[in-house]
Amino acid sequence: MTTTARVPAIEGWFTLDDAAPRLLGLKCGECGTVVFPPRALACPNPACPATDLASVELSRTGTVWSYTVNHYAPPEPYMSPDPFVPYAVAAVELADEQIVVLGQVAGDPSTLAVGAPVEVVLDTLFEDGEGEHVVWKWKVVAGEAGA
């Protein structure tokens, strides 16, 4: 097997640090509001006039707000494996940022539960001629899964 290149499925939304990847957001220097994804044109707080937001790494861990397991292949532009494999999507609360961030779930979805602690990992989204496209996913922290 030849070595496939690993490329981020989207540029600038997460670090490519395999051991401890982080989601990348923006932070307002004036009011402290955090934004994900890092695409805000200005501080989204309507009471804050700041337009200059700085890049910030979001917390690596959070707790599951809710989750679902999808059993039907989504339409394009989702790059579905053939045959289709069901996958879970979790909405995860980050306490420090007071934000809920979506992500697919890496690993066994049967250990998911609302309130379960999860961490950010990098995982394959799809592979093509360009290489392995990686994306952030949430993974239940081993040994601490909720009931």
Partner: protein
């Protein structure tokens, strides 16, 4: 107050289904039905407010003029509105505002759609700047993905069960049995819902609304215009709410990847979905206790339960009780979705908010044959479009 009011003079629909025809054909059928119901001829219409469809090419983007041309150019002024599922309310709001401003007396509001089979998908092409495209690409986050997240949250917070969700379908399927415009007119059992394939766990196929073709139209006018036509006691539009969220919106919404961060500003005490109907109630000068009938956006069975609370029909966490004790069933204190709702119609995006107004108009006139809410005088609609579009209309008679 009576002088400054807008009334619904006529309503009409093209039945919902999967017909595969051009959306404008449905729009014309619905418009003609509304005109006939109003006793207004097409050349009399001074303003056409179209609700846009994004799935039918350029003619869909200019739906107001597409349907106006199909009816035969009459020189009316025109607008086309887009607010996803809330488009119909935006179009009604445009017409209502012009009538209230005194620059027009009678207007046609119309929305029509032809939908492809399966999941609603983003438009084609590589569009990395479009969050609606990116959520499919990076997450596989279909619309039912979000519905599944809300449903599980409801189970976790309030003890809702999958049987409760199925009972919403059972209720709405029964409500829609006699509705000639409904696509699905068949009783559904709890077992059938529970045995249908899982789509986005905990939701199954029969918990989630289909996508449909269909069209709905209204003729709206000033009170004086209605009086001149001899309509003494018309259905009045008491409120149209098209609110957006207030920062920070702490609920994950389509097509977003994340909520707003509440680190600098605490979440508003009234959530976005709560604010949609609350704004309409305030405009109309009524409260939830005045509501006789509601049409809400049951994209999923579980979402209908959320709406009971967002409409203040009950306290948070009480929706399952309302469902179980029959309050929201025909014959109950405040029937919800007597039309059969999206469960019986499936979603025809730009027509849907207008269809809700059609149903309430029939209800308030006492013309909802086979599904009539006895003595209904006040009705409210609720719906929400992705990208932050609220939609609620209050009708009174």
């Amino acid at each position: 107050m009576s002088v400054d009011q807008v009334v619904v003079l006529g309503v009409g629909m093209h039945p919902w289904g999967k017909w595969g025809a051009n959306f404008a054909e449905y729009g014309v059928v619905a418009a003609r039905a509304a005109l006939e119901d109003a006793g207004v001829s097409w050349p009399e219409i001074e303003f056409v407010a179209g609700a846009e469809t994004v799935r039918n090419g350029y003619p869909g983007y200019v739906a107001g003029s597409t349907i106006a041309q199909a009816l035969g150019w009459n020189g009316a002024q025109v607008s086309t509105s887009y607010g996803a599922c809330a488009s119909g309310s935006m179009a009604l709001d445009a017409a209502r505002s012009r009538i209230l401003a005194g620059v027009c007396e009678v207007a046609l509001v119309v929305g029509a759609d032809t939908t492809p089979k399966g999941f609603l998908a983003p438009n084609k092409g590589e569009r990395g700047d479009d969050p609606d495209w990116l959520r499919f690409r990076l997450l596989g986050a279909t619309n039912p993905t979000y519905f599944g997240l809300y449903a599980r949250r409801r189970m976790e917070l309030f003890g809702a069960t999958v049987e409760d969700f199925a009972q919403v379908k059972v209720k709405n399927a029964r409500h829609g049995l006699a509705n000639p415009n409904a696509r699905y007119r068949k009783e559904v059992s709890v077992d059938e819902v529970r045995e249908s394939p899982v789509v986005s766990d905990p939701l199954r196929l029969l918990d989630i609304c289909a996508t449909s073709d269909g069209a709905a139209a209204l003729v709206v006018c000033s009170t004086e215009f209605a009086q001149r036509r001899g309509v003494a006691d018309p259905v009045r539009v008491a409120a149209v709410s098209t609110v957006t969220p207030k920062f920070p919106n702490a609920v994950i919404e389509m097509p977003n990847f994340a909520t707003d961060s509440a680190v600098a500003v605490p979440p508003a005490p009234v959530s976005f979905r709560d604010s949609i109907a609350r704004t309409a109630y305030e405009q109309a000068g009524i409260g939830p206790e005045d509501v006789d009938v509601a049409e809400v956006y049951d994209l999923s069975t579980a979402l209908e339960l959320d709406w009971y609370e967002n409409l203040d029909l009950c306290a948070q966490g009480d929706a399952e009780r309302l469902l179980r004790d029959g309050t929201t069933t025909l014959g109950g204190r405040v029937p919800v979705n007597p039309s059969g709702g999206l469960a019986c119609f499936g979603e025809a995006v730009p027509a849907q908010a207008i269809a809700q107004v059609c149903e309430l108009t029939w209800q308030l006139r006492g013309q909802a044959e086979g599904r009539q809410v006895e003595g209904a005088r006040v009705g409210v609609t609720a719906n929400q479009g992705l990208f932050g579009h609220g939609s609620s209309v209050v009708l009174v008679r």
